[in-house]
C-alpha cells in the first residue's frame, strides 16, 4: 500500500463529515473514489494532504505516518494534489506556474538571489527547458506566455497535470479531473493521465462525481457514503453493487 487511511474521523460543527473511514491506495494503480454529493470525498483529500487536522485516525504514506504534517511537508514526501476548481496561479503565465513547482530551487531563498546569481541562472535555464518539454508533451507549447486564467477549462486541467510533472511526485490526488471540462476533451485528459501513469510509474488517486469518467479511468474504485467507505472493487463490481446504486438513487430523491 502506498497510501493508507486508518479509521479517520472528522467533525465540522454538528456534522460528522468523515466517520471511521479506512482504505488504501495500491502503488501503480489509478484508484477512484466516488460517492454522492456531500459524502466527504473532498474532505478526505483535505485530511490526507494536511489542510484539515483529523479528529482521530491515522494517515500513512509509504508506510510513514504523515497525519500531523502540514501540506507543504506532505508535498515534499512525494504527494501531490489538484483542486476541484482549477485555481492554478491564475495571474501568472503558464510557464511561470510550471516553474514554481520544482523543489530545491536555490533562488527561492531571498539571500541567494543577490549572492548566487549565476547558479540560479543555471537552474532556471534547466527548469525552463523542462517546462517547455512538459508543455510540448501536452501540445500546449504555444500557450507558454498566456496567463493561466485565460486558458480554456480543458487546458487548465492539463496545466494542473503539467505542474504535477514538474514536481515528479509518487502519488497524485486528483480532485474531480472532469469538472469544468467539456465532454469532448474529457477522453483526452483521461488518456494523458493513463499515459503518465504508465510512463512515469505515478500512482493516481482520483475523486470524481461523474460516474462515466471514473469508470473509464479507474481500477479499483472505492465508494464512500456519508463519510464512511461502503465498498470497493473493480468498475464492473461497483456497477452491479446494489448498495452503491441505492446510495446514488437515494441522493437523487433528496435533490
Amino acid at each position: 500500500m502506498l497510501l493508507e487511511i486508518e479509521k479517520a474521523n472528522k467533525r465540522f460543527g454538528g456534522i460528522q463529515a468523515v466517520r471511521d473511514c479506512s482504505f488504501g491506495v495500491e502503488k501503480g494503480s489509478i484508484t477512484g473514489l466516488i460517492g454522492p454529493n456531500g459524502a466527504g470525498k473532498t474532505t478526505l483529500f483535505n485530511l490526507v494532504t494536511g489542510f484539515h487536522p483529523l479528529d482521530s485516525g491515522r494517515v500513512y504514506f509509504k508506510g510513514e505516518d504523515i497525519t500531523e504534517l502540514p501540506p507543504n511537508e506532505i508535498f515534499h514526501k512525494g504527494l501531490f494534489r489538484t483542486f476541484q476548481i482549477v485555481r492554478g496561479y491564475e495571474d501568472m503565465t503558464v510557464l511561470e506556474s510550471l516553474l514554481i513547482m520544482p523543489t530545491q530551487q536555490l533562488g527561492e531563498n531571498f539571500w541567494n538571489i543577490w549572492t548566487k546569481g549565476s547558479k540560479i541562472e543555471e537552474q532556471e535555464k534547466k527548469f525552463t527547458k523542462k517546462a517547455i518539454e512538459v508543455l510540448e508533451f501536452f501540445e500546449m507549447a504555444d500557450r507558454k506566455e498566456e496567463l493561466a486564467r485565460n486558458l480554456p477549462g480543458g487546458e487548465k486541467k492539463l496545466l494542473d497535470l503539467g505542474r504535477m510533472m514538474m514536481a515528479d511526485p509518487e502519488l497524485v490526488l486528483l480532485d474531480e479531473p472532469g469538472a469544468g471540462v467539456p465532454p469532448s476533451l474529457q477522453q483526452k485528459v483521461n488518456n494523458y493521465i493513463k499515459r503518465i501513469s504508465d510512463d512515469k510509474n505515478v500512482t493516481f488517486f482520483v475523486v470524481e462525481h461523474d460516474m462515466n469518467v471514473i469508470m473509464n479511468l479507474c481500477d479499483p474504485i472505492i465508494v464512500v457514503v456519508e463519510g464512511t467507505n461502503l465498498t470497493s472493487g473493480s468498475p464492473e463490481e461497483i456497477k452491479s453493487n446494489q448498495e452503491v446504486i441505492e446510495a446514488y438513487l437515494g441522493e437523487e430523491e433528496r435533490v
Binding site: H76, Y89, D91, L95, E96, L99, I100, F110, I113, T128
Partner: protein, 311 residues
C-alpha cells in the same frame, strides 16, 4: 519655485519608496497591510534616535552617522514587523488589515505618549541633515539626489526580487495559498519574509524623511498621511506593477501638493475648510480609479520568465 518643485520631488521619492514596499506586500504578496505607516514611523524614529546628539529629554544620543543609521531604520521596523507577524499573519484579508491598522494605532500611541523614549508630542528637533551647512539654499536639490537615487535603487531591487524564483513563490502564494502549500512552499515563511522586508524598506523611507526635515513628531504619521495616501499611490498606479506605482506616487503626491494652492481660489471665509477639500479629492480619486480603472493606470504586469526571452 524651483526649490519648491525639488522639495516636491524629494517627498515624492520618499513616498515612492514606501509605495514600492507596500506594492510588494499588497500587489505581489497579497498582504493587506494597513499598518505600512507604522513601519514608516518606526523607521523615522529609529533614525532620529540613533543619529541624534545625547539629550536628557529622550532616549538617543548614539550619534550614529547618516548612512549607517538608515540600516537601523530598516532593522528596527523589520524586527518589530517580525514580532507582529506571529499573531497577525494568522489572519487573512480584512481581519489582517484591521489588525495591522490597530497595531499602527498602538505604535502611534506609544510614540505619542512615551516622553522618555521619543520625546512624545514634542517631537525630536535638530536631527542632523547631511551636508546641510555646505548648501542651505540648494539643499532640496542635493537631497533630491540622495532620495531619488535611493528610489531608483529600490525600484530595481524590487524588480529583480519579484522576478526571481523567490518572488515567483511570493506571487504564487498571493494567487492561491493552498495551491502554494500543495506545491511544497512554506507559505507562512514567505509571507513573513514579505511582511518584514516591506516594513524594513518603509522604515528606510522614514529614515530618509527625518534627515531631510531635520525634525520629526508623531503627527507626521497620521493614518491619512502615512498609510492611506500610500495606498492611494499604489491603487492609482496599479497594484502589482512597480513602474505604475512610481507614476501613481508622483501623480498622487503632485495632486496633494498642488491642491495646497486650491486655497488661493477659495474666498476668505471658506479658506479654513480647504484642507478638507484635499482629503475629499484624495478619496474621490481613489473611487474614480476603482470604478473606471480597477487595475490602476497601468494595471498588473505580466511577468515573462527571463530565460525564455533569450531563446
Amino acid at each position: 519655485m524651483l526649490s519648491y518643485i525639488a522639495s516636491y520631488l524629494v517627498m515624492a521619492s520618499i513616498y515612492g519608496i514606501i509605495a514600492l514596499a507596500l506594492n510588494f506586500q499588497w500587489g505581489f504578496s497579497g498582504l493587506m497591510n494597513f499598518g505600512i505607516g507604522a513601519s514608516y514611523m518606526l523607521g523615522a524614529y529609529s533614525a532620529a534616535l540613533l543619529s541624534s546628539a545625547p539629550t536628557a529629554e529622550h532616549l538617543g544620543g548614539f550619534g550614529v552617522p547618516f548612512p549607517l543609521d538608515l540600516v537601523g531604520a530598516a532593522i528596527i521596523p523589520g524586527f518589530i514587523a517580525f514580532l507582529i507577524g506571529f499573531p497577525a499573519l494568522k489572519l487573512k484579508g480584512g481581519p489582517f488589515a484591521i489588525a495591522t491598522l490597530a497595531i499602527h494605532e498602538i505604535i502611534y500611541l506609544i510614540v505619542h505618549n512615551e516622553m522618555w523614549l521619543t520625546n512624545g508630542v514634542w517631537g525630536i528637533r535638530d536631527i542632523s541633515r547631511p551636508l546641510y551647512s555646505q548648501m542651505p539654499q540648494q539643499y532640496d536639490f542635493f537631497y533630491l539626489l540622495i532620495a531619488g537615487g535611493m528610489l531608483i535603487g529600490f525600484y530595481f531591487f524590487f524588480q529583480k526580487a519579484v522576478r526571481s524564483p523567490w518572488g515567483r513563490v511570493i506571487r504564487g502564494i498571493k494567487v492561491d495559498e493552498d495551491m502554494a502549500l500543495m506545491s511544497g512552499k512554506y507559505a507562512w515563511s514567505y509571507k513573513m519574509q514579505s511582511f518584514v522586508l516591506g516594513s524594513a524598506i518603509a522604515g528606510i523611507a522614514g529614515g530618509l524623511f527625518v534627515h531631510y526635515t531635520g525634525f520629526v513628531s508623531p503627527t507626521n504619521f497620521t493614518p491619512l498621511m502615512a498609510t492611506f495616501i500610500v495606498w492611494l499611490m499604489v491603487m492609482v498606479g496599479g497594484s502589482g506593477n512597480n513602474r505604475g506605482v512610481l507614476v501613481g506616487t508622483f501623480f498622487v503626491w503632485g495632486v496633494w501638493t498642488g491642491s495646497e494652492f486650491l486655497t488661493d481660489f477659495f474666498p476668505g471665509s471658506m479658506e479654513t475648510r480647504a484642507g478638507f477639500m484635499r482629503m475629499f479629492l484624495m478619496g474621490i480619486i481613489l473611487l474614480i480609479v476603482i470604478i473606471t480603472r480597477p487595475q490602476g493606470i497601468f494595471g498588473k504586469e505580466k511577468i515573462i520568465p527571463k530565460y525564455l526571452r533569450s531563446e
